[in-house]
């Protein structure tokens, strides 16, 4: 990963059971990639104190503390490492369908590796994400929903990326990580997110909540936790058809990702946009958590589990709120700041 000529300053590495590792106690790093979460450097679990009853022990796992700002940093790293190991990156450009966060993480990692990246993006992705992708040097192809009239209406970006990767005219110039079907997406969460939650709750976690998206988080974390304790409840959050919750998928209007393993999921909770955005606003104002709208949907589902289980509920907070200013402007347009100067 790093050139052998790099001189390592003292105190940056420490010897662990796994060999030489970045010293996360000093938090001084040789490369931004060392910040991507793993069991030695987990993303924080932060307890919810005001939006739930005091007796409820519920946590959000703040995936936006990853260096490129979302849970997808883990996925992107595993996807690229797998492709590199299989020789799929040699001389190729990357193309990937993404609602933004995987693209941002892939774009950052691709830039560090000198790889070119094209991302196909469904309509309705906030402008902030498109700008970030372009800032990172990615080629962005916004994909109108009606592009694939005969296919699933919301899957145009996936079909377009596949066409770029597989068109005979491109003669194998492109490689597609394919987060929706690549087992490395699941492995990222089976090897990092799941074990982190287990260790951070000292095995006490009773329920885990995450959204239907690529389903890498649900399948990977769900599988890991079920192997540890089959009575841990795995809950999927699903938005309504026509929703406005980037990163989440309604599985009636979008095809179920190949990596989704329904056998690890106990319940599916449907969340409307209204309650999801209302909860997002409460998380900002009552918990001081600057989160994206999918976190609002997850937290809304966490509340639905209140009182059903003794012991910690853990929900995934996939990304932070900074990228969604253009969405949130609507929530605060009536000027709840009042008339004070």
């Amino acid at each position: 990963m790093y050139g052998s000529a790099v001189t390592v300053p003292p105190g940056v590495l420490r010897r662990t059971d796994a060999g030489l590792e970045p010293d996360h106690t000093r938090r001084r790093y040789r490369d931004v990639r060392e910040l991507i979460a793993n069991t030695r450097n987990p993303t924080p679990l932060v307890r919810l104190n005001r939006v739930v009853a005091p007796a409820t022990e519920a946590y959000l796992k703040l995936e936006w503390m990853n260096p490129f700002g979302s849970v997808k940093d883990r996925t992107a790293r595993y996807l690229l490492e797998g492709m590199r190991a299989r020789g799929e990156l040699d001389g190729r450009e990357l193309v990937e369908p993404t609602s933004g966060n995987t693209g941002i993480a892939l774009a950052a990692l691709a830039a560090l590796d000198g790889l070119r990246l094209t991302v196909t993006i469904p309509s309705g992705v906030p402008e902030e994400k498109l700008v970030l992708l372009r800032m990172l040097g990615a080629t962005v192809m916004p994909t109108p929903d009606e592009l694939c009239p005969v296919d699933h209406p919301r899957d145009g970006a996936i079909a377009l990326a596949r066409a770029i990767a597989e068109s005979p005219a491109h003669a194998g110039r492109y490689a597609m990580p394919n987060q929706y079907a690549n087992p490395d997406n699941v492995r990222a969460h089976y090897e990092t997110t799941g074990p982190e939650i287990w260790e951070q709750t000292e095995g006490a976690v009773r329920a885990f909540v995450a959204g239907y998206g690529t389903c890498g988080t649900l399948t990977g974390v769900g599988r890991f936790l079920k192997e540890r304790d089959p009575s841990i409840r795995i809950v999927a959050v699903e938005p309504q058809p026509g929703h406005r919750l980037p990163g989440l998928k309604n599985l009636e209007e979008a095809r179920a990702p190949a990596i989704l393993d329904r056998s690890v999921i106990d319940d599916v909770i449907r969340v409307d946009d209204g309650p999801a955005y209302a909860m997002t606003l409460r998380l900002f104002r009552e918990e001081g958590l600057i989160v994206g709208p999918s976190t609002g949907a997850v937290a809304h589902a966490v509340l639905a589990l209140e009182g059903e289980r003794e012991g910690p509920i853990v929900g995934i907070s996939p990304d932070g709120g900074m990228k969604y200013a253009s969405y949130y402007a609507e929530l605060v347009k009536d000027g709840s700041e009042g008339e004070r100067p």
Binding site: L147, P149, V150, A163, S167, P168, A169
Partner: protein
């Protein structure tokens, strides 16, 4: 008017591209045309025979002709004046 031999205002080669890439490229190319101008598109993915009529209908373009022969599909699309 629907003759395949009429001179188009622009041409697009989508041979060797899989659906929906030809439709995507065509949407971009139509955006560059002026009202009344005609685009000629050549494709080799048979799926385009279903995609182009649906695409033209959704976007309000006139599909002047669609021909399929020797594994190549040729479409003539006209951008109509805004009403």
């Amino acid at each position: 008017m629907t003759d395949q031999t009429m001179a188009p205002d622009a041409e697009l080669d989508c041979k060797g591209l899989l659906c929906p890439l030809p439709v995507y490229r065509t949407a971009q190319a139509m955006g560059r045309l002026k009202a009344g101008e005609v685009l000629r598109v050549e494709c080799t993915d048979p799926g385009s025979l279903a995609d182009f009529p649906a695409f033209a209908r959704q976007r309000g373009y006139t599909l002047l002709s669609a021909q399929d022969g020797d594994g190549v599909q040729v479409f003539l699309l006209r951008k109509e004046p805004a009403r």
